[in-house]
Symmetry: C2
Subunit: 395 residues, 2 copies
Amino acid sequence: MADVAIVGTGHSKFGARTDVNLQELAWETVRQALEEANLEQQDIDMFVVGNAGGWSSEPLSAIVIGEYCNLAPKGTMRVEAACATGSAALRIAYQAIKSGEAKIAMVIGAEQMHQSPHPLAIEMMRRAGNYFWEFENFGLTFPGYYALYATRYMAKYGMKEEDLGQIAVKNHYYGSFNPYATFQKPIKIEEYLKSKIIASPLKVYDACPITDGAAAVILASEEVAKRITDTPVWIVSQGFASGTANLSKRDDFVSIDAARVAAEEAYKRAKINREESWKYIDVAEVHDCFTIAEIMAYEDLGFANRGEGYILAREGQTYIGGRIPVNADGGLKAKGHPIGATGVSMAVSLTRQLQQRAPKGTQATINNGYALAHNMGGTGHYAYVTIYSLKKPSA
Amino acid sequence: MADVAIVGTGHSKFGARTDVNLQELAWETVRQALEEANLEQQDIDMFVVGNAGGWSSEPLSAIVIGEYCNLAPKGTMRVEAACATGSAALRIAYQAIKSGEAKIAMVIGAEQMHQSPHPLAIEMMRRAGNYFWEFENFGLTFPGYYALYATRYMAKYGMKEEDLGQIAVKNHYYGSFNPYATFQKPIKIEEYLKSKIIASPLKVYDACPITDGAAAVILASEEVAKRITDTPVWIVSQGFASGTANLSKRDDFVSIDAARVAAEEAYKRAKINREESWKYIDVAEVHDCFTIAEIMAYEDLGFANRGEGYILAREGQTYIGGRIPVNADGGLKAKGHPIGATGVSMAVSLTRQLQQRAPKGTQATINNGYALAHNMGGTGHYAYVTIYSLKKPSA
């Protein structure tokens, strides 16, 4: 099987991008990725578009983007895996190269949530839980789901709201250095504590924003990658899993099953021991749609023991220089979370980290050359865990 | 790279399936496919759901289906490529096996268009052209698009409405033998000619119906396939391509660019000469969303010369016993067209054809052991052409 490397990356400014339409937003990143890889559209064998969609009346986003970016008549498809959509798109291109069906593949993640009026956008997010039982019958909303997790976690392990606040403070701190981030302003723990409650115990500063944004990566086979770059970033493995749509069927509320299953598969394929993963991984991106989600991710990924994830936050162990730097680009919390783009944005940030060209103030120390992305969909419906490395996987 | 075979198939009754919800509909086919392959859910490494979606308020169809069919926590994603969605789902599973990422993968195509009220369902179909310019500004609808193709084709090549009628008569004839078909009643050319015009020159009997339905196939690597079945049906190749969303940018209106590009790629990979393809292929499924689409497909696939596709119809050359049997399961026209299921349904029909277990009255003569599926999305936005064989591709 062919080894697969990232050879080009592109990233748009995230935020309220009402200055562009979806295809223009995508083009900002496609262009950047092509330039980085020194390739032209005709060199691309296929492209995959990660776009959860539903925000506008134009339904065929892959076609509209492909045409605008001059990628047609190359083969394409649109993929959706809720908030893990970008990682699902990456997977398809990864398999395409690994199987020999393509030599060079483009992954585009793009979402323009502001195409819907704000209340509709929030309503659409709500539906991505279990629509029929939980939203329609009980009125459960997305912050509500994660508030349930946070409440249970606090009761079981003694986490304080200040611990959640440390995640917000860290991610806003790193967002302040990232020119692509929605929020580029650090916040103080006092501001966090005073911020408005949206679903107790979660506050506005616990939640990621409704965001427009795009990101792109170009994947290539080993043979092509070596022609293009001296520093290919290899995809070592990807694990993925699904979970029940129904919160009432979950085993517990302090962890996400699908994330554990996906991480296990990714680690196994990468031959990394889960319990020691933080010793190998130089930098990680995790799905902090709410601060509690980042804490649970620490544990689901093996960065901390069960019930001790909040201690990493309390001790600042996930800043650069700590046990393992997490979300050094600001994470979903400060960078923003344009659904289909997020998984691809993680790939862009980690590629630039491993190549030591992250924005000033956000570069982690690269020792072992491994990086990890953890991208969730729904409230644990989808999980994708991807491991990247400077070392060729089959070497 | 691993060879990939179909080792199990499932197909639901197509039609107005208001007796079930989407996940129950999917389960009818998942269960049948598992039984055929003598597998259980835990044997499946991953599953892909083809579902264009948007008909109901429950947005995460892959999760809802996966949970109901007891496929969770296996990894999954939902894919959309307009009316070629089923073939895109097949592609992802094909690449997963070929790349070694999975040994056994389930492909589920499912759509329940009747979950929307009828006028809304038709409005949603309309949007799958070029929403902004063509639907919103000019009111162009889906039958309208294909009426433009038919008008131009008639003017250029002298095709008569009776020739289009022959496609409808043939596909209804075969639908009458297919227990899964929406319409199981043959029609006479006189009935066709008297049927109501919906977009001149197209009549009701030129159009496929709004349909509910599901289909599933299980793909496996060679090693696994040989344990499961003595008659694996191999995926030899798949070509795919995209086209402009904007009809005004097409080169001509008597053919579909993307279909030609996809066919070329599929034939090249299968080492089949396009001009002689009908000599190798024992039976084909083509995307007859409207009768004119089947005529254009004959030419785009090389079954007929340019401008002579309608002569195949006139002469009855695409019945069993003719040059090449096409849509012996009734096609989209009579079997129905539940968007996400259609490409998977084609795979099911062709697998059963090659294994000589098609319903009575529809079994083609299997000589060379090749079959071909042509699945389009939009009005030429997406094209997927897949070639199947009883012979192992790498042999």
